[in-house]
């Protein structure tokens, strides 16, 4: 009779293997960690619950630093309007920088001092000059490349919103930082997307604005921004709307209370609601000094021009507009309207990503899908080769068969773990699994040789030999873990996955499967059984 108490490791091993098989094959036992939806394109179609990374499912990954500079150790005024003046002064001092590209942040619980960020390609010297111009102490400020953590979080959130609203399933956006924290990268991974799509996504800021293009005097026009992303509270779907000039693509929006009030005030002040202002827009052909246009822009590009409608003008005059705050953004084409709706919903990206300083990986889904079974098959063939060598060496089924079963059970447990943790498997993980089979069998060989040097006469002899074997295994395991740990910490591409799988495999092996193999051998070999 097998005593459960002295064989608890074997029992635990069996339980874990069965549990892992369940996690792998029972539909719906998908990841308990992570947010990847069960119906995403990469997980679907396979017989297991394993998640696959880009290399094995196809798609595009872009990893890039954020464009911008941060000045730390500055002291900002607590008054919000003073701060906005500073932002405007800084923006005016720098070429091609608008005040939307300058962000002033007061110190909060996470940061020790106030910061000023500029999200454009300017040199530190230029930035210091601009800080000086705005009356900030540029000498005591430390200017560094990159942006603050708060901005990075904002970028991740906005990009996630964007990829989701564009209908890419299984996309992931995250921040990857180097050890020491001197460099940070935003990583955007989109399954089944092409490079150009992902590029457009991260390159465009999605800053939507409405400009009033109106006369300053009898012969000249000027532009004033009357609405931005921040003034908008709700966005409806893009649609075609019948108007005076036929059907036009529009995005109906609801403004915030302040946004509505300031918009109405600006329209009245610029004269849009007067008889001269209504429906008086021939942009870009009209005569300067007699043009009242509203221009929708996206990232400073004109996507729609239109005049003030009569209904809206009278609604503003009566004060009705200020209670409903509903406005209709017009665009030139339906695709622009859809794009704007997405941009408004996801929010504007505070800064763009510098793809030229990052890296790009794209793989066609058909090739990746081919890699998937082939890489598993490679692992299987390698395992079979190991089996053959072990069988040829020992020629005793009593030793060889449990050895292989144990080594393979390590891989099953790791696969089960990957499936539960929602780990996206890539080629480097598969290499890690093969490495685990290799080290696992090595240690089992040590145990088998140690235990079987002479006939095992009793349980006690077995135990002492097993302990001796374990000293070597423990030492070898420690060196493997130490050798792999730099990779688990350094951000060296996909190698982190490989290192984590190998380290986990060694731990599972040393703590569980290899002692269990010892128990099995003891049961099979000691005389009193």
């Amino acid at each position: 009779m097998v005593d459960i108490r002295s064989n608890w490791r074997v029992v635990l091993l069996v339980v874990l293997v069965v549990g892992s098989l369940g996690a792998l094959f029972v539909p719906g036992a998908g990841p308990v960690v992570g947010s990847a939806p069960a119906d995403n394109a990469t997980a679907g179609g396979g017989p297991t619950n394993l998640q696959y990374g880009l290399q094995l499912s196809g798609g595009t990954r872009v990893r890039a630093p954020v464009v911008g500079l941060t000045a730390e150790n500055v002291t900002l005024p607590s008054d919000a309007s003073e701060r906005s003046t500073i932002a405007t002064t800084i923006a005016d001092d720098l070429d091609n920088v608008s005040s939307a590209d300058v962000r002033l942040r007061l110190a909060d619980s996470n940061t020790s001092a106030d910061t000023v960020e500029v999200f454009a390609n300017v040199t530190p010297t230029q930035f210091r000059g601009a800080l000086d111009a705005a009356g900030l102490d540029a000498d005591s400020a430390t200017v560094r490349q990159g942006v603050t953590a708060a901005t990075r979080d904002e970028i991740v959130e906005t990009l996630s919103n964007k990829v989701n609203s564009l209908g890419f399933s299984g996309a992931q956006v995250s921040v990857q930082s180097t050890v020491g924290g001197d460099a940070h990268y935003v990583v955007v991974e989109v399954p089944n997307a092409d490079l150009s799509e992902v590029r457009d996504l991260v390159n465009s800021r999605g800053q939507v604005a409405v400009l009033a293009y109106h006369p300053v005097n009898a012969s000249a026009q000027t532009n004033d921004t009357v609405l931005t992303n921040d003034d908008i509270r709700r966005v409806s779907d893009a649609r075609m709307q019948e108007g005076t000039f036929g059907s036009v693509p529009v995005v109906p929006i609801t403004l915030t209370e302040e946004g509505g009030a300031s918009f109405a005030e600006a329209m009245q002040r610029y004269g849009y609601t007067s008889s001269a202002g209504i429906s008086n827009c021939q942009y870009p052909n009209g005569t300067p000094g007699d043009e009242y246009c509203l221009i929708t822009t996206r990232d400073s590009e004109v996507v729609g021009t239109y005049g003030m409608g009569e209904t809206l003008a009278s609604s503003i005059e009566r004060g009705d507009f200020q209670t409903t705050n509903s406005f209709v953004l017009q665009t030139n084409s339906m695709s622009e309207a859809r794009q704007i709706a997405i941009d408004l919903r996801a929010g504007a990206l505070p800064a763009s990503l510098d793809i030229e300083s990052g890296d790009v990986y794209q793989i066609d889904a058909s090739l990746a899908e081919r890699f998937k079974p082939l890489s598993f098959l490679t692992g299987l063939i390698a395992a079979l080769a190991v089996s053959l060598v072990v069988y040829l060496r020992y020629g005793r089924a009593k030793i060889a068969v449990p050895m292989l079963v144990t080594a393979l059970s390590e891989v099953v447990i790791l696969l089960g773990f990957s499936s539960l943790a929602g780990l996206s498997l890539n080629l480097s993980h598969i290499a890690g699994f093969i490495a685990v089979i290799g080290t696992g069998v090595d240690d089992l060989v040590i145990i088998a040789d140690e235990v079987t040097t002479e006939a095992v006469s009793s349980d006690r002899v077995f135990q002492s030999r097993f302990r001796k074997a374990f000293w070597i295994i423990g030492g070898a395991a420690a060196t493997t873990i130490v050798a792999m740990s730099p990779l688990a910490v350094l951000s060296l591409g996909d190698l982190r996955g490989f290192a984590i799988v190998t380290i986990l495999g060694v731990l599972v092996g040393v703590l569980l499967t290899r002692p269990a193999y010892g128990d099995i051998l003891r049961y099979l070999l000691t005389d009193d059984n």
Binding site: G438, A483, L495
Partner: protein, 291 residues
């Protein structure tokens, strides 16, 4: 039925000098190759795209006239620094461009010339330089960590030093062989080298442990350690060789290069463990201790 037995070697026939001479000579040769490479190319190993920066496009020709290396070169307005075909995948080419090329533009050029873009990898020079630094840090860190563990395990200078020296050879010789066989240092091969650091000391630890800590004569201990150790290393070697061959046939380059580097390293390990490490241990056991 063939069987695999570890042969018993009569080490008494060879002097320590003879035994250690071979691996030390190979190590010196390897270091010479690395030094020569450094003088000629500025780096001791050829660095892959992930470390130098650049763009690599894997493209598949959809028409017969596009299926040649010359046609691939002509498809791009930026001159490719290298074009090669993948033997296991018909009509598939890899075109490499130096850093600074625009990956999207290259993709569209390839598409308009009638190629399917199968995969694209692009790394900026700054990103590559950073990866280089990290890879070096990783290799150094993991080697130093391994050395510390070995010294903690044995707590005596000569045997621990012997293990570390032989592990150093296990890394240096495969790196030199990578140069000889034209394998570039990539993230995959760095992983393989790190794995070697962990893998290759197993048999050294086993040998040192048997000699220092077990009863029985030196040669009895060595015989027993060899039986186990050679089995271990050969098993891993076969697994990696099979992986390299199968992955090559399937066209999975990452697994091929990991497999090859490990085959080099494990073969080196057989030599280093049972010639270099063994002779140092024997010297320590018979002469070093009594002094």
């Amino acid at each position: 039925m063939p069987s695999f037995d570890v042969p018993e070697v009569d080490f008494t026939r060879y002097s320590n000098r003879q035994l250690a001479g071979v691996p030390l000579a190979v190590l010196a040769l390897a270091l010479l190759v690395l030094a020569a490479w450094y003088v000629l190319n500025g780096t001791p190993v050829s660095l892959g795209l992930e470390f130098t920066g650049g763009t690599e496009l894997t493209i598949h020709a959809t028409s017969a006239q596009a299926a040649s290396q010359d046609a691939v070169r002509q498809a791009f307005s930026t001159p490719a620094s290298a074009v090669r075909s993948i033997p296991s995948r018909p009509d598939t080419y890899v075109a490499t461009f130096s850093s600074g090329a625009d990956a999207s533009a290259l993709q569209s050029q390839a598409r308009s010339a009638g190629y399917e873009v199968v995969s694209t990898t692009s790394t900026s020079a700054t990103f590559g330089a950073q990866s280089q630094r990290f890879a070096l840090l990783g290799l150094l860190g993991s080697f130093v960590g391994m050395a510390i563990i070995v010294f903690v395990l044995f707590r005596t200078a000569v045997p621990s030093g012997a293990v570390v020296l032989s592990a150093f050879g296990d890394i240096a010789i495969p790196v030199a062989l990578m140069n000889v066989f034209g394998i570039e240092l990539s993230l995959g091969t760095v992983a393989a080298l790190l794995m070697l650091i962990g893998y290759s000391v197993d048999s050294d630890i086993l040998l040192t442990n048997h000699v220092l800590r077990r009863s029985g004569s030196f040669y009895e201990s060595v015989d027993r350690a060899m039986k186990t150790g050679v089995t271990m290393t050969v098993t891993s070697l076969v697994a990696m060789a099979v992986m390299a061959v199968v992955a090559y046939a399937f066209g999975i380059e990452l697994l091929t290069s990991i497999g090859l580097v490990l085959v080099f390293g494990l073969a080196t390990d057989l030599m280093n463990t049972y010639m270099l490490n063994l002779s140092l241990l024997r010297w320590y056991k018979f002469e070093g201790v009594s002094r």
